[in-house]
């Protein structure tokens, strides 16, 4: 089998696998659950919580992963982060990074 053929089959296999995953909410829909503490669109004044608006993707992903694994201490963010997959964390990160 030629390389191109193999590559195409691989891509198809990946796409097929992706389509059988449970449907994922959009980054915006997930971000809306955060707003009740972190502010509408992740915007907050200077308060005790972290504003999320404009946070770099890298920082957001790092924070959520570290919360989820327990590497970063938190009160309840560990439990919250546990509710989201890596893909979903990335989608939320993209959403917040783009909030002006």
């Amino acid at each position: 089998m030629g390389t191109l053929m193999k590559a195409s089959l691989f891509v198809l296999a990946v796409l097929a696998a992706a389509s059988t995953h449970a449907a994922e909410p959009t980054g915006e829909a997930m971000a809306a659950t955060c707003a009740a503490c972190h502010g509408t669109h992740g915007k907050l004044g200077i308060v005790e919580y972290m504003p999320l608006a404009g946070l770099s993707e890298k920082e957001f992903v790092r924070a959520m992963q570290d919360f989820r694994s327990g590497k970063r201490l938190s009160t309840l963010m560990g439990h919250v982060a546990n509710g989201f997959s890596d893909n979903e964390i990335l989608a939320m990160a993209k959403y917040f990074a783009n909030v002006k």
Partner: protein, 235 residues
């Protein structure tokens, strides 16, 4: 017809008091003199770095300030490489109710409840032992950098601004007059701190000396200085 007038009447007829159990400290801010600061620091216990590392976890400091003193975001100050005396004084200021510039100061006041001065010294020693890293900052072009550098090293006599470096050091390492290290501090933290000094919200520095500087600098200059010092951390 609104229910409010009836409620207000009931409220007036009750002697409700905002009791101190609330968790918000209402002590009057205390602006120390230079000798106040010296005597505060003279009684600072010796800190143990290892113990400080443990406390950084068990007292939840790491949650905002990072395992290694590098704050995961600009919302809170980085503490890596900060001078122990400055960290110690800050913690004590929070505990004495001198810091309430904003709700984050309130949070810190809660965080230091039950901290002994020995704990504070341990934490201060730990952070001081950590290497400050250059914080992410916008690139300053040649002219902007020169401007910031000039202010830092020569000040501006026209505005009676002595150089930042005369207290904070040529490398932003702090020390003179018990000033903090500025090298590697995040832009966000730096800017907010100067704003708090300028607005008179933060008053625990000796004789409120920082206010004059903060008032005479423009916002543009403050931002440039922030970027300048952020990049001074080592990498």
């Amino acid at each position: 017809m609104s229910r409010l007038p009836l409620l207000s009447t009931l409220v007036l007829s009750l002697s409700l008091s905002h009791s101190a159990a609330a968790g918000s400290v209402q002590a009057a801010p205390h602006t120390p003199s230079v000798s106040d600061v010296r005597s505060m620091l003279a009684s600072m216990p010796r800190g143990d770095v290892k113990r400080g590392k443990q406390l950084n976890q068990s007292l939840m400091c790491a949650s905002c300030h990072g395992d290694d003193g590098l704050a995961p975001t600009q919302n809170w100050a980085s503490l890596a490489g900060q001078r122990a005396a400055y960290t110690y004084k800050s913690l004590l200021d929070y505990q004495r109710g001198g810091r309430h510039e904003n709700p984050r100061a309130t949070l810190m006041t809660v965080a230091v409840k039950g901290m002994s001065r020995q704990d504070m010294a341990h934490l201060a020693a730990y952070y001081a032992s950590l290497p400050a890293k250059a914080a992410p900052a916008p690139r300053l072009d040649k002219i902007a950098h020169a401007r910031a550098d000039h202010l830092a090293r020569r000040g501006d006599p026209a505005r009676l601004l002595t150089p930042c470096a005369s207290c904070h050091g040529a490398a932003g390492q702090g020390g003179v007059n018990e000033t903090p290290t500025l090298a590697g501090q995040s832009v966000g933290s730096f800017v907010r701190t100067l704003q708090d000094y300028r607005d008179g919200k933060r008053v625990t520095d000796a004789n409120q000396g920082m206010r004059q500087f903060a008032e005479r600098l423009t916002m543009g200059e403050i931002r440039e200085l922030a970027a300048y010092y952020a990049r001074m951390g080592k990498n």
